[in-house]
Symmetry: C2
Subunit: 301 residues, 2 copies
């Protein structure tokens, strides 16, 4: 297959943007890449690491001649980033993004670029690190990228975007944006919210010191600290832009937690045992589907 695009412009050169640039360089070497980040130090570091072939001095300049533009900024900054690109965009360029919420981002992009083709997307991949040093070429290998085109979108354009993601190692799924937001609310947003919460709870206790929390974190707590170390700006924007679905999933979680709390209070061991037995199966399925390692403790020890 020929390359799906000639030139890809990446706006925002952090973990996701940098990884896309490196992945294209590695797996789709026929595709040219340019990039821009509004942070000057990030641009400099991006050039040093060669995240893209050309680091431009403005968004407008970066997107000139590109047939695909991928916005890799926090959800709340998408509209503004799109407007910064507008003056330089080719009429036939496809605009996409990597935002973790899709209804709000699609709306912001459509409003910012009413005369362009916007096809939102979300690669479900990442690490707890951020910034221009965080990206790596293999980040998307075996991970899913969810594309959420408008219902009347040109199928050929969606296929080109799919081909790019598959070209850098991802598996592609097409989904309705509202459904995406509910799925990710439970598989990503709620877990982050809970992890951020418990890490804060542990830190603020008076009777247990922070040093004790750190020393004895191998009992389970350390697992939560990884995602609670994720980029604060991005996660603020995720919760604000996917508010309804997150609050709904949180409501379900709270109901379930209350049920287990009641079982503990009443000394109802049977309810606890039944619940804990049923949750084991999901882990096995995730490992079998290649979405996590089979090694104990994630293989980290």
């Amino acid at each position: 297959m020929s390359t799906p695009f000639h030139k890809v412009a990446i706006i925002g050169l952090g973990l996701l943007g940098g990884s896309i640039g490196l992945a294209i360089g590695e797996y789709l070497p026929g595709v040219a890449t340019t990039g821009y980040d509004r942070n000057r130090a990030t641009r400099r570091r991006a050039a040093e690491r060669g995240l893209v072939q050309t680091v431009a001095d403005s968004a407008e300049e970066a997107v000139a001649g590109a047939d695909l533009v991928i916005l890799c900024v926090p959800p709340g900054a998408m509209g503004e980033a799109a407007m910064d690109c507008a003056p330089g965009l080719s009429a036939e360029a496809i605009i996409s993004d990597v935002g973790s919420s899709k209804v709000a981002v699609a709306k912001a992009l459509a409003e910012a670029l009413p005369n362009h083709t916007v096809i939102p997307a979300h690669p479900v991949a990442g690490t707890e690190n951020s910034g221009p040093d965080a990206g790596f070429a293999s980040l998307f290998q075996g991970r899913w990228c969810i594309i959420t085109p408008a219902q009347d979108e040109d199928a050929a354009k969606v296929a080109r975007l799919s081909a790019l993601w598959e070209g850098i190692g991802a598996r592609v799924e097409i989904m309705d944006p509202a459904h995406h937001d509910r799925v990710l609310a439970v598989t990503s947003h709620l877990p982050h919210l809970i992890a951020y919460t418990i890490v804060g709870t542990a830190r603020d206790l008076e009777e247990v010191t922070e040093s004790e929390v750190i020393k004895y974190s191998a009992g389970g707590f350390r697992d939560f600290t990884r995602i609670a170390a994720s980029d604060p700006t991005m996660w603020r924007d995720v919760f604000l832009s996917n508010r309804t679905a997150v609050l709904e999933m949180l409501q379900r979680f709270t109901e379930d937690l209350t049920e287990l709390q009641k079982a503990i209070r009443k000394g109802d061991g049977e309810t606890l045992f039944d619940h804990f037995t049923r949750t084991r199966a999901i882990r096995r399925s995730i490992v079998e589907m290649g979405q996590d390692t089979a090694q104990a403790n994630f293989g980290r020890d």
Copy 2:
């Protein structure tokens, strides 16, 4: 230093018991080991893997001649396991355990063995796996073992138990049992409860399928599934035996979660951003203290 004990008997040959046996074999080869598990298949597998030098046919037989007995059974089974050992125990044997809650276990052991020296302990180490195939010799390397002796305990005996744990790679801390139970409620028990809850919530949704939950788990959810795959019997017992501290920590967590929920509902980005920024530091400290890997995604991808 000479070996702190001549013969260690391990009752319960699952993840913890098996790992202690293998670790003694590896790092303290001068110490003899015997073991017993009430499950016949586990005894057979323990013998095949050589988890201990001699697998006995009863607890009584296993502890004969041992100067240290370590009970490695779920918290709720400690009292009964201790009573099974009683007829075979030497008068000078020290009885210890690895239970995740200490006030209730200490009480159960003292009641079962009123005429013996009981020094409870809890190595803060483990994996999501259980059973006789789960153990490995290096499990305790660099991890903490908390020993919770009675206030009037003979210091020389506590020192011998400490030496054993240090001999197999652990770092030792002496702690009041009630304080242990509060510390572990936040660093281990609450994280497990929350992980078990959210995995159940995700599984029970109607509008998001289990297959979607699994496919898109790399967005954060998969981190929670690891500890939610832990042994159900043990965790039922942990929550029942450390009920008060767990419910108290859960109350704090719920208050903090409600605060973040309110911030999301009100669109209060500043509160979210501030909270998410402060939680980053704890992760860094855990990595610096050698309690987790510095690699992104725990190094698993």
